[in-house]
Symmetry: C2
Subunit: 252 residues, 2 copies
């Protein structure tokens, strides 16, 4: 049995609570937030607290709050020899207060508010200062069925950056696809299977191998026509820059 | 029963042959290619020809060849009152020879050479000059379980452009994610569940609603650090341009 305490009431904290609560071998002792309104609903299942001095020792305290607040809250945890981890992709392990055994338990995934997440699809990047503590985090990931990778702070910050490309920027390309098709009164649904298949493809082959299209073929005629079709200058700029990038990758 | 003849031996033609051949209510009469080497394997299942004058009438002749060759091959089909369609995203219906009943049967999907495609996930954009012929194409899509949309040439060319954004350009962002993580010796597998989830999210909510991340939050500190982390100038440019684009979309 692993005992866990959660700090924070946002998206990640809520998803972690749910999956921990479902496990027979994890117990959530306490759940702290400055404002308990959004989690008070769970008071029959866990001790909800808004006074940080009431924290009691457990195997792992997980801080799942905004990056800027991690340092201060870790300072305010008044426990001895406690393993304290945060869940941020970009904050150094050394931002946690020195008095703690420190670690990171970063889920590399995008969580939606009201959509249940299958934690088999949530890889955790784990890091600790003490080797023994690594086993606690491995075991926690195991118990919720999540893959895990030992990742240091530099690597984690790189992954966080890579995630911006494959998640936020990709989503913006979907948005542009939506905008472009809206102008011609085309149902965006038509593009959805292609979006999914594009993501599925790189689960088994590399993005390099998966590439197709006019930029890779160096099909000047189509590229020229596409640029003429685009009316929005930002869309044009993105088209040109990504076409350039594909050409470079594929040796043109 | 619908009788079909295929022209071309590429990816799309091969996938269409397989799915047609599996259907009890579609018969592939003939399969033409200038060079039959890559399709001769199927000679027990369909008449393979390399002489276009041997084409016989059927319900639908499907031209699945490169854009530039469509016009000429349609001129060389010497049949009367024959429904002839092409499968291209960018070629006008009027590029087909006037003597034919003309149409378009464009699958908006990315096909991999050796990976079977579930045609439930292949939406067809269909267009004909005669209303009656539309029913033939609808019926053909129905029989292979594919959704279809009535899409005119302008709309189809717009979709083809949108597809470049959500497929080719998105795939290049995956590639950049791969490059960035490779530098730090990070296993690209860690990013794969995020890639899939990002695509899944927009199946049910709009890309606008699905957006998250530093650009949307206008998190200057993170954006600045990310730009500092990036060493490749093209990656930097893409980061800046897509960050700008997200800010515009979300009213910053």
């Amino acid at each position: 049995m692993i005992s866990v305490t959660l700090i924070g009431a946002g998206n990640v904290a809520q998803h972690l609570f749910k999956v921990f609560n479902q496990s027979d071998s994890i117990v959530v002792n306490q759940w702290y937030n400055r404002n308990t309104a959004s989690i008070i609903y769970f008071q029959n299942e866990v001790e909800i607290i808004d006074d940080i001095s009431k924290l009691t020792p457990c195997d792992i305290i997980i801080i799942a709050i905004s990056d800027d607040a991690i340092k201060e809250i870790s300072e305010n945890i008044d426990l001895n020899n406690q393993l304290v981890v945060h869940t941020s992709g970009s904050v150094s392990i050394h931002h946690l207060d020195k008095k703690h055994r420190r670690g990171v338990f970063y889920p590399l995934q995008t969580f939606s508010k009201d959509v249940d997440m299958n934690f088999n699809n949530v890889p955790f990047c784990i890091e600790t200062l003490e080797k023994d503590d690594l086993n606690h985090l491995k075991s926690l990931a195991d118990k919720i069925g999540s893959p895990y990778y030992k990742i240091n702070t530099d690597q984690r910050q790189t992954l966080h950056l890579a995630a911006v490309f494959v998640n936020n920027f990709t989503n913006q390309l979907y948005r542009i696809g939506h905008e472009i098709s809206d102008v011609e009164n085309i149902n965006f649904d038509i593009l959805k299977p292609l979006i999914l298949e594009t993501a599925k493809k790189v689960q088994s082959i590399s993005p390099y191998m998966a590439q197709t299209g006019p930029a890779k073929r160096y099909d000047k005629k189509t590229i020229k026509r596409h640029l003429k079709q685009l009316e929005n200058q930002t869309h044009k700029d993105i088209y040109e820059l990504l076409t350039q990038s594909i050409k470079k990758t594929h040796g043109r």
